[in-house]
Every structure is written in C-alpha cells, then in structure tokens.
Amino acid sequence: MTLEALVAIIAGGLVSGSLYALMASGLSLVWGTVRMFNFAHGALVMVGAYSAWYVSNRGGIAKALQPIGKSIVANSEEAGALGGLLLPLGEWILSIKGGFGLVLGVPFAILCCGLVGYIMYVLLVKPFVGKPGADLIVIITTIAGASFMQNGVQVIFGPRYKQLDRILKGPPLQILETAIGLQEVLIIILTPLTLFLLHLFLKHSKLGLAIRAVAQNDDFAHLVGINVSQIYPLTFVVSSILAGLCGVMLGGLFFILPTMGAQELLFAFVVVVFGGLGSLPGTIVGAYVIGFIRESSAYIIDLYWAPVVLFATLIIVLIFRPRGLMGGEDS
C-alpha cells in the first residue's frame, strides 16, 4: 500500500467514523436511558439536512419570502409614516435571495431536530413506556414514524436532490499528495468537539447527571427526586440534535434526498452492536473502528463489498457475543 493510499484511508476512516459516532451516540444514549431502540433515528438526519437547507440556501425560505418582500416594497409608499420603516424591511427581504446561510441554518436545524425528537417521543414512545413488549412495539411505531417523515419531506420538498453549502470554501488540503476536501477536514475536527461537549454535558451539568442516573438505576433516580418522566423526552431531544448535526455535515458532502440517513442508520446499528448498546465510550470507539474497517475494505476489496464485509462482521459478532463486542455493562 502506498503512503498516499494510507492517508486517504485514514482521512476517509475519520470522516465516516465521525458521522457514525454522531449517529450512534444518540442511539446509544436513548437505549441506555429509555431502553428503546429508535428506528426513526436515520430520518432525523434527513430532517436536520432539509431544515438547514431550507433556511440557508436559495430556494428555501428565502424564495418563499420574495413575494412578501415585493409586496411590502410596492405598498410602502401608501403606508404613510409606517412606510419609512417598511421599505427597508422589504428591501432587506429582497436582498436575501440567496438564503440566510448556515449561520442561521445550523441553529434552525438544531431547533427543528430537537422539536421533532420531542414530538416523536410523545407520539411514538411515551404511550408504550412500561407496557409489556414495549421495546418491540416501539420498533414498529418508530419505523412508521421514519416512513412518515421520509414521505412527508418528499411531499413538502419534492423528490429532487438538494445540496447544502459547504461551510468552508476553498481548494482541498494537500497531505502527502492526497487531496482532502475542507468539508471533510471540518467534519474530522468538529465531531470530536461535539462529542466532547456531549461528554461535558453528561458529566458536569445537572441534567446530564440526571440522564446518566436514570440510565443506571431509575428506581434510585426517583428516590433522589429526579423527574424521570422528563428525562426520557430530554434524552430523545439530545439524541435527535446529534442526528441532525450529522445530517448538516452529510448535507455538505453528498446530495440531500428524502431517503438519506438510512445508510447511516445501518452503519450506526453495526456500531452500537459492535460497541455495546448503551455504552457511550464503547459506541464512540466502535464508530471509528467501523469507519476504518469500512474505508480500508473499500480500498482493498471493493467499494460495493465494504458494507457486505461490515454486515458479515456484525452477524459474526452477534453470534459469538450476543450483547455486543464490548456490551454487557451499561454506563
């Protein structure tokens, strides 16, 4: 293997690993706390990408606002004293034809995903918590939720591909004659940062501590006065935001379409099984390991065969370690 190939594999592995880590840590968090598996987690990636696109790019909300801007400008003269105020507003609206950019797009995506995560919890999960067979029922309801969101987005935005702006524009980085796109570099840097923030939140904030407490012993969590029924939706919101961030990053790499996120969900499954459901450090390590396996098998064997290798690995792991490679303990 040449040195360039090695650099390409490492960079690719870091990018894939980052995306899987964002996805899988949310899945793992929800599993550890609520003991439910969220099959709609992939659809949240898509929601994140679309909502960011809607605010940041031309063709989204900016396009929808143009007629309003025009009519404000046209009518401002007749509005008298108010017109002086309205005219700049209308002109400003007309000037943002190209969208608001990612500066507003990303916060909007975070907001949307958090909200969707909350609604999802209330409609698809909450009614079944504590009932017999709830884990299987919630698989079914979240599959239905995923199908609803995928098809709903297609109804709203149509089946045509969209593309998100790249956060950094410019020529790719050259490392040992291997070109690495700036978006990729950004993902490699931002993901560990995001995960570190998650770590700080879980380790040092009161709510984060409460989330971990519920995950480890919900009976005792009740006894120290934690409002357990509030922690469940909170976990869904946090995990949905992580999926949404994954969507924003993916949206800058590939096209945005209603079925996006499904592939990533699959790999996130492999990751959580590999790293042990409910164990966050295991999940993150697992994500990068799977990322590297994927990239190196894509390079050494074939791009098509990389997922095959991964799923075969997953099945073998499950045969010999039915609770995951590092599973068994929850933290």
Binding site: L136, I143, V155, V273, L314, L318, R323
Partner: protein, 341 residues
Amino acid sequence: MTWMDEGFKIRHLVWALGIVIFLAIPHLVTDKLLMHLAILGMLYAIVASNWDLTLGYAGVFNFAHLAFFGIGAYTSGILAVKAGVSPWLGIPAGGVTAALASILVSIPAIRLRGIYVALLTFACSQLVLLLLLSQPLITGGQQGLTGVPQLQIGDFRFRESRFAHFYLVGFLLLCSTIFLRRLVTSDFGLSLIALRDFEEYAVARGIPLARQRLLAFLLSSIFPGLAGGVYAHFLIVASPDIFGFSLTTLLLSMVLVGGVATIYGPVIVGVVMTYVSELMASSAWMSEVFGISRGPVRFMFVAVLIVLTMRFFPEGVWGLIKRFSARARGTSNEQQSQSGS
C-alpha cells in the same frame, strides 16, 4: 356438544360460499386495475400472514421476512432470465432458496433476545440487498431485474387472461392460509405460544426453544418465497424496492391492523390495505384535496394507521370482529372463540 356441530357446519358453509364468490369475481369485475390490485393484494396477504407466524405466534421480530419474498422473486427471475429455466421450476426453486435463507438467518437469530433479534435480522436483510446490488450483471443492480418472462402454459399467456393470475394466486393464498391455520392450531403452534408467553416454564417442561423457533422461521419462509416467484413473473420485474422501508411498513401494517396472532386478520387486511393504499396513490380526489403528488401520502397514511392501531386497537381488526361476534352470540360460544385463537 351441539354447538360444535353447528359451528362446524357454519364454518364449512362460509368456506364454500367464499370459494364460490372467489371463483365468480373475475367474471363480475371487468376493471383491469381492480383485478391487478386484487392479485397484488393476495400476494401481499400471503407474505403478511406468514409474517404473523413469527411475529404474532413466536413473538420474534423478524425484519428479514420481506427478504424471503425478495429472494423468491430474484431466484425465479434470475433463473428465467439468465438460465432460461421455466418459471414453473423457478417458482418452487424460489421457495427452496427462501427456506434455505430462513435457516441461515435463524441459526444466529434463535440465540438472541428482544432487540438483538431485530438488529440481526435487519442486518441480514440489508446484507441480501447489498449482495444483490453488488452484482448488477446478474441482478440488474439498482434498476432491478427486467425482462422477467411472464407465466405461460403452452401458448396460453397468463397476462392475456383475466382469470389465470387471479386463480393461481388465489389458490396459493388458500393453500398458505390452510397451512398456517393448521400449523397454529397444532401442538407445534401451541408450543410456540407457550414459548412466547411463558418461556421459562415452557422450556422447563421440555419444549425445545431453539428447534421450535428455527421451525417457525423456516415454515414462515416457504410461501413468501413462492409468492415472490409469482410476483416477479406477474410484474415481469424483480426490483430492489422489495427491501425498502416503505414496503416493509406497508406489510407490517397488514399484520398489525389485521390482528397479531390471528392469520385471518393479515389475510383479509392484506387484500383490503393493498386496495386502499393503491387507490389512494391513483385517485384523483386525493390530489385535489391535498394538492400534491399522491404517492408518498399513502405511506404517510399507512404510518399513521400503524401508530393508531398499536395505541388504540392492539388486537387489530380481527380481534375486534371476534370480540363483537362473541358478544353477539352470547357466552355459550366462548369456548369456541378460545379454541379458534
């Protein structure tokens, strides 16, 4: 014991009436779309009711169930397109490959519990899909396998007849339903229920958990495999869409809305749901009401239906029918309704 004789007679009468009506349908219905949907609906009903065996009776969430259907379709399709094998051999071959696949899936799956079964079977079905997509020269890749020959006997082409596909698929559905009902009311069916509801006790009483679950997977795969073969020759294409989230959701809704662990429920609702969802996709008023493309809306509708069913009618349509009919007949027939479940 008179009620039993009566029930026996009534049941035979219902069956006879059903078969007469069934045979008459193609003579009465001339609309091509309706007939097409009826055939599609019966194929889906086969897949859904067989899924009920693992999901409802064994209590195991087998995500790879649709893969059995897909494997049947691709087996028969590939054999016909690439090797010129007659569909009449290809369709049974599809049943055999689906059965083999079910054994492969169940060997790791029976060792696992709850969520891990779902994850493993999901991975298996995606593995099948990825393998199919990775061999575009054989399988047609993303576009699917086109040019699958239609069914014919001598010079008689099935697609040119209003009756042929309808009767063939109807016969398959009848066989599958009788097979499943016999199975679930047999000792084997009871042992599945025992393992589902009282696992530890049942195992302690000597019911072999692994063997029964493996058999449940195996027996639930044969008819979907056969149905998949017929599906490919009926639509003259085998498409990777079979493995997608949307079809899985649609078929899942048939099992759940029909009523888990009833067999009849998924059969009936399978046919009805196909009609409803396809009519929604093609009816003009839907587009007028919503002012949008209709394809995706039906899947949204199906998704809402699933969630509402899980929440408010967990026993499904068949469960409701049974509850009301039991009430109408009074308490004397309680035993019968129990023996039928």
